[in-house]
Amino acid sequence: MSDSPITVEEHGPELRHHFVDAEQQRDAASLGMWLFLATEIMFFGGMFCAYLIYRYWYYNEFAAGSRSIDIYLGTINTAVLICSSLTVALGVRAAQMGKRKLLVTLLLITIVFGLAFLGIKGVEWYQKFEEHHVPGNSFNASDLERPPYSHGEIDQRHEQIYFSLYFAMTGLHALHMIIGIGIFVFLTYYAWKGRYSPKYYTPVEIGGLYWHFVDIVWIYLFPLLYLIDRKPLR
């Protein structure tokens, strides 16, 4: 890259040439990440909008679909993500205090949690695949329980809409997890190489922001997809 010879000697290697000082650089990075998270809210927002409307229209099918997903796996996965958020938060703290080994350990644990989440998610999807609950030609939801107070059969067509949203939402969330794990692999590598210090830990911090955001999306997906209606059948 074209670093200027005029300014390059005034600052450490982590400060990019066009910033006045490290604070400006860190503020810019943090604002950039928050703005990016705002776009992510709107990105998932489009799906939440579809969810809201179809849930309003086809509540029974949504409730029935929700009952058919394994709530235990869902709860465990929520817990796994919350634990990973904790390790990320502690990781940022370790970076702030310059504890390199602790940082690397915490980042690695986070990655493990992330992989565990994806694994459990995979199990859940596999179940749905086995049960023919994947939208498409082989879709068959005749085994679904009706919600207690609703009458009649589940409308198979409407049930497909629930599962379409389920797969789209959890799928894109999982994609974000995969990207997050990728980012954390990089962070771990550079943390191990000792690039981060109490003076410069911005990448850890904004990587952490991203991870927490993905966690928050899941915090909403969990009740919206798993907990629509779990009341005991009358």
Binding site: Y58, N60, S150, H151, G152, E153, D155, H158
Partner: protein
């Protein structure tokens, strides 16, 4: 003036005049605005063109002016909005006693069926002076029913009914366009609306091959599909009695109350378990995929015919909005 080069569309419905009046008002308003702005630019550009030794005068701005030229346009906009809204309201609320034409759109043709029975393809015959309500659905993609001479347009959607209405005022043959892009022959999905004097129209009706009215074919379908075994008119059957259903509120099992309109009846036939009326069991078979759109319209027309027409037909067309359904 120019036979081959018309500059204004023909007005052939009661609504067309309203739309044209508003359009001309807006046109005049816009012309005035454009003239004022362009004149000012021209005057300033000549009067204040750069000359040696003359400097521009720095003017900071004026809040009073800014507020004036925000508030006055806003007030004018509200007039336009209100006027347009009244016309739109009128366009979207068909008179209750309008005669009905069922329209099924598909790539790339219009299939129309009159209440009285005649079917037409890409052609619609209507008499002068009668309110005609179009109840439309699509078999495939979104289409749009557009008759420029009547100034009406309504998208035709798959999976539900949309409606439009008009009252023709002038005999003639007018374009019917599909105005929502629908695939290869979108531009070929055109037809014509023939407006006739009432006497001629009666003759046309009589001359056509009469397959019986739409409701009558709905009736035979009703028997054929076995609907009548449960939906009985003499005694309470396993299904609700459908006499007097249309246009009236229905209490549903889940506590909601809906008005039984065309879309409700449609949904009840295709997907009966979504809207179970209170007190009935979900035993009706699903007809999704078993009846065609045309059969569906016949059934809907038949069930509608079981409700007595409203007392006292609607007289002249007024711009005053009329509620589509009586409040119970």
């Amino acid at each position: 003036m120019f036979d081959n080069f018309p500059l204004w569309p023909i007005r052939a419905s009661t609504g067309a005049g309203n739309v044209d009046a508003l359009f001309i008002f807006l046109l005049a308003l816009s012309a005035l605005m454009c003239a004022a702005i362009f004149a000012m630019i021209l005057v300033f550009a000549t009067k204040y063109r750069r000359r040696a030794g003359v400097k521009a005068e720095q003017i900071e701005g004026s809040s009073a002016l800014e507020i004036t030229w925000s508030v006055i346009p806003m007030a004018i906009f509200m007039v336009i909005f209100a006027w347009g809204a009244v016309i739109y309201f009128h366009e979207r609320t068909p008179p209750r006693d309008a005669s009905e034409v069922y329209v099924v759109a598909k790539q790339w043709m219009w299939k129309l069926q009159h209440q009285e029975g005649p079917r037409e393809i890409n052609e619609l015959h209507v008499p002068v002076g009668r309110d005609v309500k179009l109840i439309m659905t699509s078999q495939d993609v979104i289409h749009s029913f557009y008759v420029p001479a009547f100034r009406i347009k309504q998208d035709v959607l798959p999976g539900r009914y949309t409606t439009a209405w008009f009252r023709a005022t002038r005999p003639g043959v007018y374009h019917l366009f599909c105005s929502q892009y629908c695939g290869t022959m979108h531009s070929g999905m055109i037809g014509q609306v023939t407006v006739m004097e009432p006497a001629q129209y009666e003759a046309w009706l009589a001359g056509g091959i009469t397959a019986g009215s739409l409701a009558a074919s709905g009736d035979s379908l009703f028997q054929q599909l076995g609907c009548s075994t449960c939906h009985r008119f003499d005694v309470q059957g396993r299904g609700p009695n459908l006499v007097g259903l249309f246009g009236h509120p229905v209490h549903l099992e889940d506590g909601r109350t809906v008005i039984a309109d065309e879309n409700y009846i449609r949904q009840c036939i295709l997907s009966p378990h979504t809207n179970i009326p209170s007190g009935f069991k979900p035993i009706m078979p699903v007809f999704q995929g078993l009846v065609s759109e045309e059969q569906l319209t016949a059934l809907v027309a038949y069930i509608k015919s079981l409700s007595p027409p409203p007392a006292g037909g609607q007289g002249g067309i007024s711009l005053a909005p009329k509620p589509q359904y009586p409040k119970e």
